[in-house]
Symmetry: C2
Subunit: 164 residues, 2 copies
DNA sequence: AGGAAAATATTGAATATTCAACGATTCCCG
DNA sequence: CGGGAATCGTTGAATATTCAATATTTTCCT
């Protein structure tokens, strides 16, 4: 009866009381990093829920959106724009090529580069996703307030700018 | 010479011009979801850089910080508090148990539950991490402004609250 | 010109995360 | 009380991400 199946489980008698006064330190919920993570997670979750029926993750929407200017974008530029590192982007683009949402064209001016383009299929999907995203933004603005939303965006932009 | 080694690469002649006027739609950089992702990513990157010398990912710091109230926290509560889903938390805690930063105690009142506690080793590490995190916050407040930082935190808190 | 260094994208192995299923325990209610 | 449903945490398989190494092409320097 002593050695149960779960490893790593102590039994309760080892509670030790702190011998020195514990300096409380700020709770995690007051750190900017935590608040950003939490807000980001929540907004993303909501957006993902809306995209669910199209079966497209948020990152692919970002890629499509960047490409929907119709110009070619190199993988490097795209990676920066959509906040993905290079290998992750390569693999995600592979999937999108399989789904015929985007295609690769070798840049004739610099043959190291690959220019990404959006396909017609990608464009029509993007439109559907955009309207889902817009409806989410509207929903946020609705019960969070237009002013708060605008203020928040402005502050975030400024933070990002300063952080670089 | 026709069939090169790279698959999926079209050659440039297939550029098609849009036949209908393209509605520009808002750029990705103006979406709240994108701004949050970008800010979160950047702040996290900076924090991770500071934690680098301790070799601890941000998530572990969050776990340690929550546990440093000295009370026991169930895995479920912890998962909510540190924004990780259950299996991910279980595996991260496994590593932290190996590193003797935390330990598990079976809850005697509800034997389905496991209560997590921080070890002494975990506590001293937490102190070092806290001071790194504080110095980051100070650095942010410094060239972003105390007011902006406070405003941003307030807005984020309110967004999170509304979103639930 | 020629060769070292830098830039670009991809690959493969190692690592991490997620999803679904499970085992154990407790709760609920007839 | 008894047994089905709910809760809690973990596991294993599938999937995704990351790190380091690679191949290719271009740039730079002398």
């Amino acid at each position: 009866m002593d050695q149960a199946k779960s490893p790593n489980i102590h039994h309760p008698f080892q509670q030790s009381f702190p011998t020195v006064a514990r300096m409380p330190s700020t709770p995690i919920t007051e750190h900017l990093a935590y608040l950003l993570a939490q807000a980001n997670r929540e907004i993303n979750r909501q957006l993902d829920a809306r995209f669910k029926k199209e079966g497209v993750p948020v990152e692919q929407w970002r890629i499509l959106k960047v490409l929907s200017d119709g110009k070619g974008h190199s993988m490097g530029d795209l990676a920066d724009a959509v906040l993905l590192n290079h290998p992750t982007l390569t693999k995600m683009v592979d999937r999108m090529v399989s789904d015929a949402l985007v295609y690769r064209v070798q840049d004739p001016d610099d043959r190291r580069k690959v220019m990404m383009f959006i396909s017609d299929r990608g464009k029509t999907l993007t439109q559907r996703l955009n309207s889902l995203a817009l409806s989410q933004e509207a929903h946020i603005a609705e019960n969070y307030g237009n002013k708060a939303t605008a203020d928040l965006k402005r502050l975030l932009e400024s933070l990002i700018e300063k952080a670089n």
